[in-house]
Amino acid sequence: MRMLINVPETVVADALRGMAAAHPELTVDIENRVIVRRDAPVAGKVALVSGGGSGHEPLHGGFVGPGMLSAACPGEVFTSPVPDQMVRAAAAVDGGAGVLFVVKNYTGDVLNFDMAAELAEDEGIQVAKVLVNDDVAVTDSLYTAGRRGTGATLFVEKIAGAAADEGRPLEQVESIARRVNDRSRSFGVALGACTTPAKGSPTFDLPAGELELGIGIHGEPGRERRPMMTSGEIAEAAVDAVLPDLDPSNPVLVLVNGMGATPLLELYGFNAEVQRVLGERGVAVARTLVGNYVTSLDMAGASVTLCEIDEELLGLWDAPVRTPALRWGM
């Protein structure tokens, strides 16, 4: 497998160096692995800190900036960052109004952010946490680690970030973030596995003519393997996996998200099918975002995330945002 890298050991640090060069509006601490918006701390406003394994770019570092995250902590590829990073980020961005940790529901992320929250509170920083767990492919039960956090992370970070930017207090920003997560569901499909730099070969073997349904964002196989389907059939499978669980009576935000190796041409075609199926199921669409936002290295495939919204959440979604990967209105 050919990769545009120097050596596997430095992929994360190399990417951070490149990010620092491309985005002077961010402060990138390469040694300590923390990406902070340059104007932090913003006095009197709640700060949002997120983080997770690398390999999902632009998540989370690409979402740092006014109207979204205050800081992001990138871990090794597909490995949660360590508590030291999160504490450092929290200290850098706390403007006195507290910090909200946005945590994707994976055992490692949860454990490390929990430890970080305790340490940050010891330093006098008020911390709240919201868990993102939107992936319907995983049964949420005592017998699993619970649903994974995937595409809804973008919705949570954007909408809660806008609420923080409006100057709302920590409890409100936290409850808005929780509401977005509660009303979001995702389902992903892989047409090819991904290759981690450390391993150098695909994480699973997907024979030609087959696809994986219900995949996560770490190159883990899905719940089920089926013969290859058309874009329209995949859209039906994804939407029909999400809808029974969400059962929206209000319009939805739609994220048609590429996993990393699927061209935008295909993603837009897939979006047309997703919109068709939603129309056939009687679901109104308020806004749609198409692109590679929550990726899984070079995995081929896509995920669909729906978030049922109300007027307040839509207003926060439309609010100005200026980050490397998401920017409008400012």
């Binding site: 490995t79 490692g108 017998y143 680690a145 391993k199």
Partner: protein, 199 residues
Amino acid sequence: MLDADFFRRWMTATAALVDREADRLTALDSPIGDADHGSNLQRGFTAVTATLEKEAPDTPGSVLTLAGRQLISTVGGASGPLYGTLLRRTGKALGDATEVSPEQLAEALRTGVDAVRTLGGAQPGDKTMIDTLVPAVDALGDSFAAARAAAKEGAEATTPMQARKGRASYLGERSIGHQDPGATSAALLVAALEEAAGE
């Protein structure tokens, strides 16, 4: 009796075993995880050996507490907090004695394993490191060699299990038939005890 030097050797031997087995751990982590368990632990235990050399802690308890803190600060993922907590809590349970008996170590390890169970919420049979550590600690009363054998057996016994914790649990029944990488690395930690004792 086991002194601080024994515990340093334990950590160094673990680092060497993790180095040797890193590719196998990563390969086991590939079908049911995300193919990085070997490299993550390698990074962690390399940092542990370096910090032990630099700070030269002089009691068994302080060697393990420092090693645990270092793992939490360098590994990330679930293994960082879990292995870090195991060593840190075992170290704390050993107190500040300059020498401890194998029985005291077994008792302290039991405290450490309990802390891991509380943190990760895993029970025996969930296809995790707990399936290695619980039988290993039970066998530690006999000898390090017995603990090593029990750990190996415990790790191998995870193959037919369906994962109920961690990333492998996402696969449901498809996790059956694969040996758990965390249970496998935990067996290396136990095996390193015997190597440190030079038995």
